[in-house]
Point group: D2
Chain length 163, copies 4
């Protein structure tokens, strides 16, 4: 079973630029994380963009949705900033694909050592293997259908909502 | 949904004793790992024993199997040393429980920083939520039915076998 | 021998605020770092301020210099942002104290795991014990008299200059 | 100023062998640690042996002492297991070299993430630059003349003793 992972940026892949003292993007940490997790799934990693969740545009969301549609694999994982992950999930769901799409993110950059990213990646790849077709958000050890979830900005936790 | 986690020891929870220079067990790192993963599942952690995989006895396996039977929760995760994780899975499977039981472990102790443990824990908790009743081993980002898997001792990787 | 450490902020003590996604200050990591280093020196840690190097004002520098003068201990270490660490060293040197004052900083926040901070702290505390009275900057494993050093902003490295 | 670092093994460079589950030696972590510390000293790293402190023999100590004598550099740092670091310091001191020799070690392997090794390395390299000729042990943020120190095996801390 091959799982395609689309990288879009977000906290997951943020790093610290020691010359400027600012947070920045470089290449994705996904391959390193898969090695660390001793992952033996057949995973194809593809970077679509490297943007903050708050900088994700409608055009960006269409690109992600189009990539999901075009992918040969029926099981997809997407790394995304958490602030607008639900909006991107909605844009993908509008395509009514016969695929299992799991979006995940991180509250702490993987590069910063004490990240939830590795836990979330293990979780998202696992849900992607066994959940039926649909669009889901996997965070906090849980999965949510795209239309039943919101991020609580005050606590940083994803919560169930009524559809 | 509550998931009960039984801790049995293994590399997962090994630590370094700086006074003796030897590997040793202390308390489990599970609660710390769940915090790091920002896990919001209802998880009940229970330490059954703290032993090396190679020191797990038949009596120990019966204790684990009995604990699985006695648990009120239908979804269980077990942390276990990887060398004999399949034997313990078999002992549990003999009980023909109507529960989803996912065993997982780690190749590197969580306490040593570059561990696969956090990835595996995210993976095991996720599989436990969605797989049908049965006994499984979750390692390397994958899940295996208990009677279709073996650990390759030379590569450290779990492989599918014919039942 | 007691060494007093004055904390002023800088990259050394930056952390990631997971709710805002921005870098921020909280309490200092010095006590944790001293524990990690198994430091058994008699160290008194005192936070003077928590500011970015670029936000350090002349008034702030006077506060640091006054604290150095007022300290009972003849050996002082100061953590400081690297961009203006030399300016603060100059302000302290103007006081012509009969004390050994060692300023240090970090290029990567300690909280981000792969920091130079722990190395620099071990270095600064060591130089502070053995260098004669004077004001020094300790970075990159080296020490420099305050009037013989500059930070190369392009490489992030401290370099010797003619006085 | 060039500092020569002789690597002899010890906890400093221990790593975890994930296939055997045992502690083992591989190559030294010194170059990686110097990079992490952004060290810009001219450091020449030379591995003499890779042994546990308790496996260091008299012949091994002679090799270390001979290497110190033969080194062109007048300032040397030696990484060594902590249990017999003082014995090796004594063997070097017997040579009455006109060099500054600083031995250091670690209570926790560098590879295990929460090590004191980086702190100790920063400390040892700093003491080596400024202490007068002699043989010293640098641990716990402090330095000790070779004949005034012992390791307290119960606390893991180095203590001053009367010469």
């Amino acid at each position: 079973m091959t799982i395609r992972v689309f990288v879009t940026g977000g906290t997951f892949d943020k790093r610290y630029n020691e010359l400027t003292g600012a947070l920045a993007f470089g290449g994705t940490h996904l391959p390193e994380m898969l090695r660390l997790g001793r992952c033996r799934l057949d995973v194809a990693v593809e970077t679509l963009m490297m943007v903050d969740s708050l900088d994700m545009t409608d055009a960006g969301r269409r690109r992600v949705a189009d990539a999901c549609r075009a992918a040969a694999e029926p099981r997809l994982v997407i790394t995304h900033g958490t602030d607008t992950i639900v909006e991107t999930a909605r844009a993908i769901a509008a395509g009514r694909l016969d695929k299992t799409v799991v979006l995940t993110g991180a509250m702490i950059p993987y590069a910063f050592g004490s990240s939830d990213g590795l836990f979330n990646l293990g979780s998202a790849l696992s849900f992607a293997q066994v959940l039926p077709p649909g669009v889901y958000v996997a965070m906090n050890g849980q999965y949510f259908a795209w239309d039943r979830v919101r991020k609580n900005r005050e606590t940083g936790v994803f919560e169930s909502i009524e559809a």
